[in-house]
């Protein structure tokens, strides 16, 4: 990998992605070999909005590599409240750490912040924008369960605002995949994402119903449809209800189907699926640690 910063899944080539996933596989297979790999390394955590899981997962990753964290803490107790710019804050933190993870509510914040620092900066989510480590752990999970070549995947739910979906769909275009997008009319893929997928030479198949393509799928990636997207509660219930799945829904699916979800879920995947062979979403969440370890290892110079 030849990147100083990881701000967007779009910057990652197929060989970049494979380097991270291969390393993650090695780490998962032999974690003890990596336990002192980055002894003394400090990872700066700059979380301008709460995200317990992303933060815990990065903390676990650097500690399992022998390093530690320096945490900016919650925004209300830091200098941010005093009106300091992000550009200044990140330049200060640069002096405290060997790499930094930034989560920030504004889109493009990671790209901007990376222009001000020389240590590796990883985007831990920038508003409705990018969340590249989520994409990498999604890809790792898909590769482990279904393989990334000759893959038919259905991505369902809120495709308009769901950033995990946008990054994943883009990254999948570098592999041999057929992508189906299933959503209500009002939550279809936005224009800039369709533009990108089109530019990548991907054929986009959009559906409003899961039934017609479910039997052909190797992976079904479900995302949450949020209440805030609808003018009123009854409209939300009506629409969201059509995109919930349970064990009965999956009777038409292949036995080998992998069901994924970035979590947290509300009721888009019924609990009766949890104990079936289809359910892969908890494994997916756990994969966040070896994948982030692999990325940190490569960015901190463990590639040679």
């Amino acid at each position: 990998m030849r990147h100083d910063h990881i701000t967007s899944a779009k910057q990652l080539s197929r060989s970049d992605i494979e380097a991270v996933l291969d390393r993650a596989g090695e780490i998962a297979g032999n974690p003890a070999a990596y336990a002192d790999r980055h002894e003394g390394a400090l990872l700066g955590l700059m979380f301008f909005e709460p995200s317990t899981r992303t933060k815990m997962s990065f903390s676990a990753a650097i500690k399992r590599l022998g390093g530690d964290i320096v945490d900016m803490g919650p925004v209300d107790s830091s200098s941010v409240q005093k009106g300091e710019s992000l550009a200044d804050t990140v330049r200060v933190v640069e002096g405290y750490a060997d790499a930094v993870v930034l989560r920030h509510p504004k889109e493009g914040s990671a790209q901007m912040a990376s222009e001000f620092v020389d240590i590796p900066l990883i985007n831990g989510g920038d508003g409705a924008g990018q969340h590249p480590t989520q994409t990498l752990l999604d890809l790792y999970t898909i590769r482990e369960n279904a393989g990334l070549d000759d893959l038919t995947i259905g991505i369902m739910g809120d495709l308009k605002y769901g950033r995990t979906v946008h990054s994943l769909a883009y990254a999948l275009t570098t592999f041999d995949t057929r992508q189906h997008f299933i959503s209500p009319e009002s939550l279809k893929l936005p224009r800039n994402v369709r533009y990108d997928l089109h530019e990548q030479g991907s054929s986009i198949k959009e559906h409003t119903e899961l039934e017609e393509i479910l039997p052909s799928l190797d992976v079904l990636y479900v995302t949450r449809i949020q209440k805030e997207r609808f003018p009123d509660e009854s409209e939300y219930r009506k629409v969201a209800g059509e995109y919930q799945i349970d064990a009965e829904t999956l009777e038409m699916a292949k036995d080998s189907l992998t069901v994924m979800h970035p979590l947290p879920r509300v009721d888009e995947i019924a609990h009766d699926i949890d104990d079936t062979e289809y359910a892969t979403y908890f494994e997916q969440a756990h994969n966040g640690v070896p994948v982030r370890m692999a990325l940190l290892d490569l960015l901190l110079g463990g590639g040679q």
Binding site: S85, K106, E107, G108
Partner: protein
């Protein structure tokens, strides 16, 4: 003076921007920051019949030659424009505008959640696409409304 003479009356020194899409002349002036306040002589012809465009706008600015970065931005809303540099009543240079690969600091991102809308020490930057521009920070694409995103 006939209508024809009024339209094509020559200027001694300056720039004639021809073949602007009909109705875009005022946006062109806005891009160039020309509002008459500096006392420059500006003539605007709007919806002039044109063989090439049907209707075109023409802008003449006296005693001013446009820079490359001004031409770059101009290309976004007036891709067919021709630029004539006039010295001593003669056209000394005739150029077509060329689309740049990106424009910096000229357009405002329409996405209110974009980091460029915050008080940060950066310029906006847009990658120029075949049929629009895209914010390099938040990926928002502007197509039809480029002129309204020009910073004033």
């Amino acid at each position: 003076m006939t209508d024809q003479e009024l339209r094509v009356s020559k200027i001694e020194n300056g720039t004639v921007i021809d073949h602007i899409a009909g109705g875009q002349a005022l946006n062109v002036l806005a891009i160039l920051g020309i509002n008459g306040s500096r006392g420059e002589t500006v003539s605007v012809g709007m919806n002039v019949p044109s063989d090439r465009l049907g209707r075109k706008d023409v802008v003449k600015v006296e005693d001013r030659e446009l820079s490359q970065s001004e031409l770059d931005v101009l290309s976004l809303i007036a891709p067919a424009a021709t630029i004539n540099i006039i010295r001593g009543y003669d056209v000394v240079e005739k150029n077509r505008v060329e689309r740049p690969s990106s424009v910096t600091g000229v357009l405002e991102c329409p996405n209110q959640h974009c980091i460029t809308a915050e008080d940060e020490p950066i310029d906006t930057q847009f990658e120029v696409l075949d049929d629009g521009v895209r914010c390099v920070y938040c990926d928002t694409i502007i197509r039809e409304s480029i002129a309204t995103q020009i910073k004033v």
